[in-house]
Amino acid sequence: MKEMDLTQVESNTKGIVAKILGGRRMMKKLETLGIRIGCELEKVSSHIMRGPVVVRVGNTRAAIGYGMAKKIIIEQEKNVE
């Protein structure tokens, strides 16, 4: 198991949300699209120059701004296909 923030995760890999380093407001906001501690998400892509990160949660795809993505800590299994 290793932990890193969402911007460091490689595209096309899955992980579990371990921590969200933000206030209640941010948690609530993320929750509306089903992103919360313990849920599995897959990173679809990221954009150059601190662009947004695109993830898939369940059947929902969401774009998350760079700064916000930095505060989402992901736990990944070492070997993911």
Binding site: K29, R61, A62
Partner: protein
Amino acid sequence: MRKILLMGNPNVGKSVIFSRLTGVQVIASNYPGTTVEYTKGYMRLGDEKVEIIDVPGTYTLEPTSKAEEVAVGMLKEGDIVINVIDATNLERNLNLTLQLLKRKVPVIVALNIYDEACHTGIDIDVEKLEKILGVPVIPTCAITAEGIHKLVSKIKEAKEGSYEYEDEERWHEIGNIVKSVQKITHRHHRFVERLGDATIRPGTGLPIALILMFVIFWVIRFIGENLIAYVFEPIFEKLWAPLMMKLSHIMGSGGFLHDILIGRLIDGKIEFMESFGLLTTGLFVPFAAVLPYIFAFYLVLSFLEDSGYLPRLGVLVDNVMHRLGLHGLSIVPMMLGLGCNVPGAMATRILETRRERFIGMTLMAIAVPCMAQLAMIIGLVGQSGVTGLALVFGTLFIVWVLLGIIMNLLLKGESPEIFTEIPAYRIPYFGALLKKLWMRIKGFIKEAVPFVCLGVLIVNILYSLHVVDFIANFTAPIITKVFGLPSEAVAALIVGFLRKDVAIGMLVPLNLTLKQLVIASVILAMYFPCVATFAVMVRELGIKDMLKSVLIMILSTVIVGVILNLLLR
């Protein structure tokens, strides 16, 4: 009359169900005291006529934006709620459903996009879900109208939920519900989904976006030009002109009333762009010169909106928009502003902070010309080839970027980040698309025609009272020395407060050079918003910020005008 509310997350096909349920009579109105727009219509329920309200999409009843606040406010006025949920996204959608069940209001659930859930291997036990929630659940597929009849017949069975839970445990409860009613047998990545991903990855997404923008521009121009050349101009030239000539003869080919209604005859004939009478130019500009482009633009825009592409565009341009103090989603109000700045300015409500809305609206008022103005610019400047058009649009684009960067540096505060759902691509439902298109065109005709006529009337009065000459003398130093335009062009700047399209039309008889046309078009776009946009901006920003915004407009217009006058030959 009883009110039925359609509530659900954004992008779950709520509007399609709305358009299936309601008849032709659909009204868009603003929620009292806000600029949040919603649509309502009517339907028959047995012998009863009921009102159906399409509530703005919301993810939660704990509002995080202005639009969501409105949704919650409207809930208090509803008699029955039809909760539309996306069967392919059960977990996320049930979050709102469970919150609705806590309110004391009868609920019926429309399990929409059910067919697609089946195709992609998501199996939902509807009866079990119904039993757990304690309210009717009807599987629907709004696009093909499947399940809509059943939904209507079951509306009277809507009831208050019996599901009890603690708020803190909501996601846990949802997890349990989903586990017990949903089975995922096999999950395909459909082709559409792969295409969907390709349009948001930077490597493939940016080229696709550029090609798409080019195609869109070409399609709008193609439809607009051909509608004008083969439909609207012939109608005016072959049918309306002879009629007007007869009227002109009856009125003695001159005189005050003649000049107001018919305008000046040019070589004994009516020239629709130059005569400037109420019944000639006053009708020709909105209907023949502008309406075809409005139609073309909103057709394409509605298609883009309903297909789900716009949020993707927002993601692609996000890092650029950040430099302008905005985030990616603000591309949506900007695109709406290209149709008309009024709905564009209203749409800035999707931006969370005052700072963003100030930057967004100011940038739009200065550097995003509306379609009415664009149509006239394309008609006038486009006559001398693409160079002029490229100069006008290129200048406005550079102003848009530079001004955004400057405002971002000077204004206090930071802009929040993008956070948005990227909906699955869907083929737009034609019926809903047509309804929206019709509402927008009706809106244009209702708003534009009276103002265009008023503009034409004022032009005539100003000229006959020699007010224009007076002001022209007074402003000549600025207009001629600074901008290099003939002093009469000031009349266009005066009328531009009212309608920008009429103002551009007033340049026609001045026989300007290409350089002068480019400068005049650019400063007419920039110097001040039209009165309708002005009113919305005052309401949204308040007087103080509006004054700031106006100062920026005037300052940047003078600077850009001088630079163009020096650089162009």
